[in-house]
Amino acid sequence: MAVSVRIPSVLRSITNGKETLEVPAGTIDSALASIEAQHPGLKAKLCDDSGKLRKFVNVFLGEEDIRFLDGQATATKDGELIDIVPAIAGG
């Protein structure tokens, strides 16, 4: 088993249309590094040059926003779901 990372529709052009990526369990940071290794350019959309999540990007682990957990150091376990959700949506 692994951790699933759900990619928002606005970034699926980078993942060749894939909605979900599989990464090894570890932390949110390691998951971000892993999706970057699979699809270069993805992390730059989510994080700034220092690797910190951009202000208007939300990351949920299960039902919890990681800002209310341990941030990017939050540990992940096999079978969990990371959901990347842009903070702002138009329409």
């Binding site: 970034l11 699926r12 052009s13 951009r54 202000k55 959700v85 903070a87 702002i88 949506a89 329409g91």
Partner: protein, 379 residues
């Protein structure tokens, strides 16, 4: 900066706004990624006044307004200074999934106190051009799926608990049916009323026979909108020729008149697209509709979502005459008693600035009135 909130709201709706580089660098730029870039963005002005502002780059690039400020967002006017604003938080709503696995954000959109949802799929009535004005849901592959009653109810519950939405608008303005879409909408209306103490408005095409208007009210629609598009029939036909062939102007007027007789005062409305016909025609339309008991919504031009190079259609109508038109409209709504209904307001109404959030009393009133009205009609 000193500002008139009504004028600011109207001017923003009309002129759009640009997004500051500081916000784009902080992740705001994701808005414009992918093929489905949005045309609008919600803002809360001082006092919690909600407005949806066009941000499509092609449209907004000449706007004097720019949204900026990472910690405390402000709306900066080129010459008039800053207005503090807030950005509605909707991420938790969009993160929530229905039991079928779809994001609630795919099924509905939060706009102020409203959840707007297009559950049904209709034929292509050549509405691309009016779609630009009406802010109809974009014709994305995802929205071409028909959402089930359970999916819509789950989305409404999420919007209620996570987004504070207290009203639901079902957009079914492309469903062409002799009964005006009543049979298709009925299960949604009944389920939504059973699940939440909410009010539900619908946009539908007018029925072939006006007796179906009562059926729609009986089914649970608390407010209805049949769009004329323009007061002048030729102007409406020019912008939506296919729709006009199937749905003549007279059929829409008849349905509006019948709905105004059945629904509560102020709960029947129609969209008129500003810019399609001379403002003088709209000047005449306002009293004509208000006399019939119909609330005229003045809808402004909006470009198609994702239309990067889209520019305003023809000349942008200046804000000043629009303010005068809105003022006339406000006076007429008061004069004809269309403003004081407990059930009123549509998401695209650009003049209503009060955050209307009905409670249980409004729900009870609506249910009791419906029961009595339907009994009265049956007798």
């Amino acid at each position: 900066m000193t500002y008139d909130l009504v004028r600011l709201r109207l001017d923003l709706t009309n002129q759009g706004m640009r997004i500051g580089d500081d916000l784009l660098a902080a992740g705001f730029g994701l808005l414009f990624e992918g093929p489905e870039a949005p045309d609008g963005l919600d803002l809360l002005l001082p006092g919690g006044v909600w407005v949806n502002v066009c941000v499509a780059p092609g449209y907004a690039r000449t706007s004097p307004y720019v949204l900026t400020g990472l910690e405390s967002p402000v709306l900066r006017h080129r010459t008039r200074g800053d207005v503090p604003v807030a950005l509605p938080a909707t991420a938790a709503f969009r993160h929530r999934r229905t039991p079928t696995g779809f994001s609630c954000g795919d099924i509905g959109a939060l706009h102020g106190p409203w959840l707007v949802c297009a559950p049904l799929v209709g034929p292509d009535l050549g509405l691309e051009r009016p779609r630009r004005f009406l802010g109809l849901p974009p014709a994305r592959p995802l929205t071409k799926r028909r959402w089930t009653v359970d999916e819509v109810v789950a989305t409404a519950e999420a919007a209620w608990s996570l987004g504070g939405a207290r009203l639901i608008h079902l957009e079914a303005g492309t469903v062409l049916a002799d009964d005006g879409g009543v049979s298709e909408l009925r299960p949604y209306l009944e389920a939504l009323h059973r699940a939440l103490p909410t009010l539900v408005s619908v946009t539908v095409l007018p029925p072939a026979d006006t007796t179906a208007v009562l059926d729609l009210y009986q089914a649970g629609a608390d407010a209805v909108s049949y769009h004329l598009l323009a007061w002048n029939e030729a102007a409406a036909a020019a912008v939506a020729p296919v729709r006009t062939r199937f749905v003549p102007h007279a059929r829409t007027v008849e349905a509006l008149t019948e709905a105004a007789r059945i629904f509560p005062r102020g709960a029947v409305s129609t969209d008129l697209l500003v810019g399609l016909e001379p403002l003088a025609d709209l000047d005449a339309a306002l009293p004509g509709l208000c006399q019939r008991g119909v609330v005229p919504n003045l809808a402004l031009f909006r470009p198609l979502p994702g239309a990067e190079g889209d520019a305003p259609h023809g000349d942008l109508v200046p804000t000043d005459p629009l303010v005068a038109l809105m003022e006339q409209r406000r006076g007429l709504l008061q004069r004809y008693g269309l403003w004081h209904s407990r059930i009123r307001g549509f998401p695209r109404t650009v003049s209503g600035i009060d955050p209307y959030r009905p409670g249980m009393m409004e729900r009870l009133y609506a249910a009791a009135r419906r029961h009595l009205r339907v009994m009265q009609e049956a007798a």
